[in-house]
């Protein structure tokens, strides 16, 4: 069987429905390709061909019995932060090197209910803390476009696997840009939905008020199909939004005439690499040709996003990661004096340097006497940033700008300087602090041929419109159709 490894989810679904290909054939194709290319790219941490093929066979059997499901037999790879019953789930950490999940996360269950077949578990920055995939205990993921460069992070494996045609689509999580920035670095479309749309149950927690699950794919249309499967109320997640299911593909075909695009002057300043700005400006011209108008807006408090984030995220992480104590699951040190020494040594050995740094920051800002100055102040800034956006939506429908100020960088370029690394997320973090949906789509290359992403930030629950906007752009352009030569 010859299969186009860069077929979209929509094309894969159509081929399965037309019985041009079986789920087992597809699973074998991607597993073979992973066996061949993953040793070089390091996108997958765990593959389990036996499980994958048995799932694929069961979806083929369902189809032959006349059963239907929206994505029956379509393969998907999951970030190794999603628990799947019986699969090793490491979160990119030595702490969970041998952890086998005892239950399945809601998002993965919903995707399985939609008929999707799990291909494997994808590499990531340790506990999703990083912007380059260099913090993974299992080694960095290589960017399939240029293996001397980072794929972005933290969902670097999720981006690299789809970009290299090792999976037609993947899941990621986004706490400060961990879907959108790797989507830009690997020339993909990635979406972080509104906080509360996708259940966090069974996703290893980093910063609970910011973490959101979302899809990676080649097109906005695919992201809509995937979000249809992923989203939905879950009583097991206390912050899950209790609302009716919606069809995120419903508005894809709408023309963009009359769309008002807000361009925050704070996103178009000197901090951007010139090639990034040039590509974004060219993409805005395409949007104008499609009938959209652009209006300059201002988000005066957005400059406090990074500092506020580096209080909120570490604070919540220090609390969430206290569960890794060497007593109930995860790594336990071999030698220790007493129980406190067991905790300290287990955590010192099990966590990498970046994770430890963030736990220490979080512990400090939450410690006695510092709460008001840090966590409370950051919470107030979240409100001010959200109000800036609220004002902006009086004059525009969506907000656009570069996804990151510079494209993919070389391994080691920022690894020793956390602050430099953190500033890579300068445009993505605000949507996590406010809970708004945001996505990135390919929009060109800089003078070195490195990929640039356009970020679209939308109002709460406005995913269908954002996907429509990106889809219309993709009908008029072909940046998203470019693939690396591997």
């Amino acid at each position: 069987m010859s299969w186009n490894t860069f077929a979209t989810v929509a094309e894969t679904k159509a081929a399965l429905e037309a019985k041009q290909v079986s789920a087992v054939e597809l699973a074998k194709h991607y597993l073979d390709r992973a066996a061949q290319l993953n040793p070089g790219l390091n996108a997958y941490i765990t593959l389990n061909p036996e499980k994958t093929l048995s799932e694929a066979l069961s979806t083929d059997n369902k189809r032959s019995k006349g059963e239907v499901a929206p994505l029956l037999g379509v393969p998907i790879a999951h970030k190794d932060i999603y628990l799947i019953d019986g699969w090793r789930t490491t979160c990119g950490s030595k702490m969970l090197e041998n952890f086998v999940a005892p239950y399945t996360s809601t998002v993965v269950k919903y995707m399985a209910d939609a008929g999707m077949v799990t291909l494997g578990k994808l590499n990531m920055d340790e506990f999703a803390m990083g912007s380059s995939n260099e913090t993974s205990f299992f080694g960095p993921v290589k960017n399939p476009w240029d293996t001397s460069r980072v794929p972005g992070g933290s969902s670097g494996g999720s981006a690299a696997a789809v970009a290299a045609g090792l999976a037609p689509a993947s899941t990621g999580t986004d706490t400060g840009g961990s879907i959108r920035q790797p989507a830009m670095f690997c020339n993909l479309t990635g979406l972080k939905p509104t906080y509360g749309i996708c259940s966090r149950y069974g996703i290893i927690a980093f910063a609970s008020s910011l973490d959101q699950a979302g899809p990676f794919a080649q097109t906005a249309e695919d992201c809509a199909l995937l979000l249809n499967a992923m989203a939905g109320f879950d009583p097991r997640d206390a912050t899950s939004l209790d609302r009716a299911k919606e069809d995120y593909t419903r508005d894809l075909a709408k023309p963009l005439k009359g769309l008002r695009i807000g361009l925050p002057k704070e996103f178009f300043g000197e901090g951007n690499e010139p090639g990034v700005l040039k590509a974004v400006e060219a993409a805005l011209d395409v949007y104008r040709k499609l009938g959209a108008t652009t209006v300059e807006i201002t988000l005066p408090n957005v400059k406090y996003s990074v500092p506020a984030y580096y209080v909120v995220a570490p604070a919540e992480a220090s609390s969430n990661l206290s569960r890794f104590d060497g007593a109930r699951f995860g790594h336990r040190a071999k030698e220790y004096d007493d129980i406190v020494d067991m905790y300290k040594r287990s955590r010192a050995e099990g966590f990498g340097a970046e994770v430890k740094r963030r736990i220490l920051i979080g512990t400090y800002v939450l410690s006695h006497g510092y709460y008001d100055a840090y966590y409370l102040q950051a919470g107030k800034l979240r409100r001010l940033i959200a109000e800036d956006f609220k004002k902006a939506y009086e004059v525009c429908d969506v907000v656009m700008g570069p996804t990151a100020p510079e494209p993919s960088f070389q391994f080691g370029a920022k690894a020793d300087d956390p602050v430099k690394m953190y500033l890579n997320d300068i445009y993505t973090i605000c949507a996590n602090l406010t809970g708004q949906p945001a996505m990135s789509h390919p929009c060109g290359v800089d003078e070195n041929g490195l990929h640039v992403g356009m970020q679209i930030i939308g109002n709460y629950l406005d995913e269908a419109r954002m996907l429509n906007v990106a889809h219309q752009y993709q009908l008029a352009t072909d940046w998203h159709k470019k693939h690396p030569n591997i």
Partner: protein, 95 residues
């Protein structure tokens, strides 16, 4: 803001993470850089602003007080570093 070596040792103890005397200086330098970034937000006047933790300002649901989970102890303890007879084993805590 400046952090002393004692601050680092105190935080590390609170966080239950062993930081060896050799590591303190390195950790101290990196954290100071990060706090310099964080301290940018201290100058903003936020008097009277209600802190936000959720964009849609949702209220947390309550569920019915009913048994919903089955006893899954054996399965859940499979990942324990040391367990016996349904218990997690840890070093002696009470003399």
């Amino acid at each position: 803001m400046s952090l002393s070596a004692q601050d680092i040792e105190r935080i590390a103890h609170l966080a239950r993470i062993r930081v060896t005397p050799d590591e303190v200086g390195q950790v101290q330098a990196k954290l100071e850089g990060i706090f310099k970034l964080i301290d940018d937000m201290q100058s903003v006047n936020t008097k009277g602003v209600e802190p936000m933790s959720h964009g849609l300002d949702m209220v947390l649901r309550l569920r019915d007080d009913a048994v919903t989970e089955k006893n899954d102890r054996e399965n859940l303890q499979r990942n324990a570093p040391q367990a016996a007879e349904g218990y997690f084993l840890v070093p002696k805590v009470i003399e």
